[in-house]
Symmetry: C2
Subunit: 241 residues, 2 copies
DNA sequence: CGCTTCATTGACGACGTTCAAGACATGTGG
DNA sequence: CCACATGTCTTGAACGTCGTCAATGAAGCG
């Protein structure tokens, strides 16, 4: 029920060392981070943060999947971001959370007490620069998603989601032959991310399957026989220039 | 046709001094910025940047309205951001633009050559910290817009847009009695921002008008008799916690 | 004036939502 | 082992919101 704390483990052997907020830190800075970090694990479907809550910590996702979401009193929900390993949670400089964060699968976080982290941002340029870089990357990703939400059809949304998920979870080494994606999200969670209903998501999965663009293995495993074909369904035109 | 350069003018008397990327600079840092800045003006409907172009400069909007937008070969367009005075254009650290930027009205920019600005970001913490702050604010704003695009009805979208525009353009001093908003966007530009068609925008304006929520004066001027009533139409629940 | 741009309105239809039923897998207890 | 509950997913039918296509009107400008 309650999240439990893990014992410490060294940053050097951290699986997200290369990509997280600490990516560009030298060993000295890493030591400072190490001093204020602690691990915390949440079970699937547990809330990590509620909108309006005081933000006690910021964190990096070490393992698992979480979502940033916004929901209204009348029950509408929109997922605003998918948090995968190395993604950053929280906003230094803000007191209360603006959005809800929830664990989709079991999630382990590398947490930093917010006040202490904010001091670090002030004093170690590598952290603030990496944070800026990540924020700007996130901004670009979110803008692509705005196009998806505002202008894409249901079919394109599904194809885009699968491509995004594929790119973010499948490492280059694994990319041989037919690609397989193991979704950690339910149909409903995908619907919330894509601005659709779960029924529409299900229907489009069926349609893409009957059109031969994807194959389904069980409920959550998607086989992509031809990644380029799926990419074409996503309706993005790439930058050639 | 071609954008023209204005003569220099001092940062001290700059109208966006308090809110732009230079907001937290001390006089020393300001001098460095002053050394590399130049003004540039674009006529209404001129492109400022094309996706794929090399980004020669980054800039602050001094006056006028511009938009960040994404368009596809098949003619779909989604506006990703509204750029008003003090907003920042461009991404330090990136070589080519990911999105199109276009002037909606006549726009004056305070430009900085990108390479020189990037050096400044490295060396003056006030600039990089302010940039981070602005990026994080932008991220929050964009996330709110994702909810709008994914989950709001056409009517709520229009009401939300009017509220947003009101908040961003009407200063507290002007807020007495019935509020008036002078839109710089056409129905089509609003539609592109809201993920709608211009016809739907027009219909919802008419509907809000006949429902007494707004009054129209000419095509672009909107009178809001009761700001709270409009806010209610926007379908946001505020953070009470 | 005619031309262009922008806005309004109507008729119609498509896409996605809503409501509802049923399938399937997993887990629990009798 | 079966009965039953639960969570997830699929599929169908009816509906409604918004998009498409088209005609008209209003305003600004050479």
């Amino acid at each position: 029920m309650t999240p439990h704390h893990q014992e410490e483990s060294r940053c050097e052997s951290c699986p997200i060392r290369e990509r997280a907020v600490c990516a560009t830190c030298d060993s000295d800075e890493l030591q400072q981070l190490e001093a204020i970090k602690y691990y915390r694990t949440y079970e699937a479907r547990q809330p990590i943060m509620w909108r309006g809550d005081r933000m006690e910590f910021v964190a990096s996702v070490v393992s698992g999947t979480a979502t940033v979401e916004h929901l209204t009193e009348d029950g509408r929900k929109q997922t605003l971001g998918l948090l995968l390993p190395s993604d950053f949670i929280g906003r230094p400089g803000r007191d209360t959370a603006l959005y809800d964060v929830a664990a989709v699968t079991e999630v382990t976080l590398c947490c930093f007490r917010r006040k202490q982290f904010e001091e670090l941002v002030q004093t170690t340029p590598h952290v603030s620069q990496r944070l800026l870089e990540m924020a700007l990357d996130e901004l670009d990703a979110v803008r692509d998603w705005m196009f998806l939400l505002g202008r894409k059809t249901a079919r394109e949304k599904i194809a885009s989601f699968l491509m995004m998920y594929y790119r973010r979870t499948v490492t280059p080494e694994q990319q041989f032959g037919a690609a397989t994606v193991d979704l950690s999200l339910t149909r409903e969670a995908m619907a919330d991310y894509l601005g659709l209903t779960l029924e529409t998501v299900s229907r489009q999965f069926s349609k893409l399957k009957s059109d031969g663009v994807i194959k389904l293995e069980g409920k959550r495993k998607v086989i992509i026989p031809d990644v380029h074909a799926l990419a074409r369904e996503a309706g993005d035109d790439s930058i050639i220039a």
